[in-house]
Assembly symmetry: C2
Homo-oligomer: 243 residues x 2
């Protein structure tokens, strides 16, 4: 049998928002590897599996563990929240996989927060959009600023991941200040918290109000484009400009 | 019972790439409405349902049909390929839904082509990215040009939907020419065709080569960012800039 490691996007957390293929692979595999928080969400649904975890900053070690377990002949699944390819582990798995040429990496997509959060708010991303993370752990802040500015100038709807954390409580405010140089303060925005998990909630703002909104590492933020409107409490970006 | 219409993203077509919630709703509902091509993909999996279809340009009529059926007391699901919120029907459903205040619209997310195609290619969208459709049926071409230029200037990885159709065979070439004003001809790109369906295939290019690639309405195109590389035939964008 071919040695293979699966990199799986588990979606936002709710079992119903996982793909059927992902669920089947998790049922069949021997070993499930992931960041502690995600393993805790999964554990009870997949009894009898071997679970391996590492902490947030140990991504490379986590990948090596996956390949080493696969080398022993085990069927291994590395899980990520959302989609494995959006700020997830599939890139690093393929990079580290170059050292394990006999083990194939198969990526199974999942519902990323732009989609699951968008569904909660209504339809904020129906037209062209950009996804930007405010985490500067692996990216210089200047690069993030440049992307925010370009996305605003391109009239993209924008979905912001990692808007805040303990170490950087004011990052969403800084991002809004950059956007406000290009976009009007009345621009419709929305936030979703704990998508597909206990305590899910959402709220609409103007961009001016969003600047002072309370967000945390479980919040996903949506900035409308020039056509976005509120309809009955939902955030809606029309599909085109000629309707 | 509350009258409700579900707007469901069915993913790329493969039943395994649909969310479990979407599948459950389709099993429970009375009526499934969608564009002819997608209904044909679903029909055999959901026997005993009432299927209603309209052609591609009749989106508003399709939405009205959904609400009218729900008004009769039926449980109705409107299906879209990929995610209902990404160039899908959830925006228009919420707009038309304003005329049916007693009927709630619930959006169920799905795997959009940026994610399913990305998984086939490897990990092209691991970092910040932009999604742009080249269809000018509902959007002026100048707006599309502006977005391509801004996405390139922001060093976003870019995922292009609707790169070509019978009526506009040279649109990908035109888009590449705009990108090539900002990006080098050596930039790594990839295409995926018939994602999650019969005949799935993928290919890597440079941006210079992509300009002359054969694509069609079932192709999704990926343009790397400045860090994207090829590793063992896969397209990989590293997660950060400091590894």
């Amino acid at each position: 049998m071919e040695n293979k490691v699966y990199v799986i996007g588990m979606g936002p957390g709710d079992a119903g928002l996982m793909c059927k293929s992902a669920d089947e692979i998790l049922r069949q595999c021997d070993t499930i590897i992931g960041y502690t928080v995600y393993i805790d969400l999964l554990k009870d649904h997949y009894p009898g599996k071997e679970f391996l975890t590492t902490h947030m900053t140990q991504e490379a070690k986590r990948c090596e563990m996956a390949f080493e377990e696969a080398k022993k002949g085990k069927m291994v699944a590395m899980v990520c929240s959302g989609d494995a390819g959006v700020y997830g582990m599939s890139g690093l798995m393929l990079e580290i996989g170059a050292e394990y040429p006999d083990i194939k990496v198969e990526v199974v997509p999942g519902i990323t927060a732009a989609l699951s959060g968008g569904a909660v708010l209504g339809a904020p991303l129906t037209h062209d959009f950009a996804v930007i993370s405010l985490s500067d752990r692996l990216t210089p802040w200047e690069k993030i600023e440049q992307r925010l500015e370009c996305a605003a100038k391109g009239d993209f709807a924008i979905c912001i991941y990692n808007p805040s954390s303990k170490g950087r409580p004011d990052y969403l405010k800084r991002a809004c200040d950059i956007l406000l140089k290009v976009l009007p303060a009345e621009r419709i925005c929305g936030t979703v918290e704990n998508i597909g998990r206990e305590g899910e909630s959402s709220k609409l703002y103007t961009l001016g109000e969003l600047r002072d909104a309370q967000v945390n590492m479980f919040t996903t933020v949506f900035i409308g484009n020039s056509m976005t409107k509120e309809i009955g409490g939902r955030m809606v970006t029309p599909r085109g400009y000629r309707i």
